[in-house]
Amino acid sequence: MSSEPIHTEHAEEHGETMTKRRIWNVFFVLLGITCVEFFIALYLVPKGHMTYHTANPIYIVLTLAKAFYIVGYFMHLKFERLGLIFAIILPVLFIIGLILVLTNESHHWVDLRL
């Protein structure tokens, strides 16, 4: 909440920013991806064209794609300085670490149950 009205133009430094047209493009991408997910969940899987084992990884990939568009475009991270991008993206490695650790742990829980 600084009083100096600087930095409003920082996006323009990079020559690229969010325009109205781009906002709506991203919206349609997000909507399209969600529709694909619905198509898989409501048609392909119930009709037996696809099993859960194929559908679930696809859902996760599509979800990550949506996350990329929200963080990159709506949250403007794609147009920020590289330093900020890395400061936000690299700590996500901790989350991946937790996924690996708990996946391993849950294998152990399966063994406990038997």
Partner: protein
């Protein structure tokens, strides 16, 4: 006196030498990013624990059987994903109005900022209303923290044959995780709506016009998009997988 400065006394101008910010983003915005990062850790902990419990479970209430009603329309069965699809659409839409508010802020168009912010607030309230309906529906079925429907009803929520003990155990796990995680997300949406209202009032009062920038709108925008981002994951892992 000599006007030359020794090399060591020269003001450094490169980003990482302290000359200027390597991020070229205002302080509050960086702090919002780091707050969101910590919030992302919290949400991932919740979602990953959910994933681990579900992965190691022998049975789980099937999403297409648990969420197949559309509240307010009288449709009780056979419409999986329809209501949550509507909720997802509302939240994505309110994210769009939020970026449009930020975009209007860049141009200093006060009126436009206000209208887009009001659109965002309405979207947020609609989402909360939908979530309240969804919770009420599940609560009427018998789900709540530590509560599950009667065994008879529970049987209709699992695919295939599952023993009663397993249905009891994993029904409980599902109920606790569902209400905790969607509740935590809903609380974020609620806080977001409150913050958006405060910022809109400030815009109306002309606070940011006087300040010369609508950076605060960008900061709450970041928070609002994060809420949308979390929903994308909650939607996938509770309703699709």
């Amino acid at each position: 006196m000599s006007t030359t400065v020794s090399q060591i006394d020269e003001v450094k101008t490169t980003p990482w030498a302290g000359g200027r910010s390597p991020f070229a983003v205002e302080y509050g915005k960086i702090m919002m990013w780091f707050f969101l990062l910590s919030d992302a850790f919290t949400f991932s902990s919740l979602l990953i624990s959910y994933g681990a419990l579900r992965f190691s479970s022998a049975a789980w209430p099937a999403p297409d059987l648990v969420f197949q009603s559309v509240p307010l329309t009288g449709i009780e069965h056979g419409a999986p994903l329809v209501f949550v699809g509507l909720m997802t659409f509302i939240l994505i839409m309110s994210s769009v109005t939020m970026v449009l508010a930020v975009e209007a802020g860049h141009r200093g168009a006060k009126k436009e900022v206000v209208w887009w912010m009001i659109g965002t607030i309405i979207g947020g309230l609609m989402f909360l209303g939908c979530q309240a309906l969804e919770w009420t529906h599940l609560h009427n079925e018998g789900f709540w923290w530590g509560h599950i429907p009667t065994m008879e009803e529970l049987k209709t929520l699992f695919h295939g044959n599952t023993s009663e003990t397993l249905m009891y155990t994993y029904g409980h796990q599902f109920a606790n995780l569902f209400f905790t995680i969607t509740g935590f997300h809903g609380f974020h949406v609620f806080s977001g709506v409150v913050i958006n209202i405060i910022i809109t009032i400030n815009v109306l009062k002309g606070t940011y016009e006087k300040r010369g920038s609508y950076l605060m709108v960008e900061k709450v925008g970041l928070y609002w998009h994060f809420v949308d981002l979390v929903w994308v994951f909650v939607f996938t892992f509770f309703y699709l997988v």
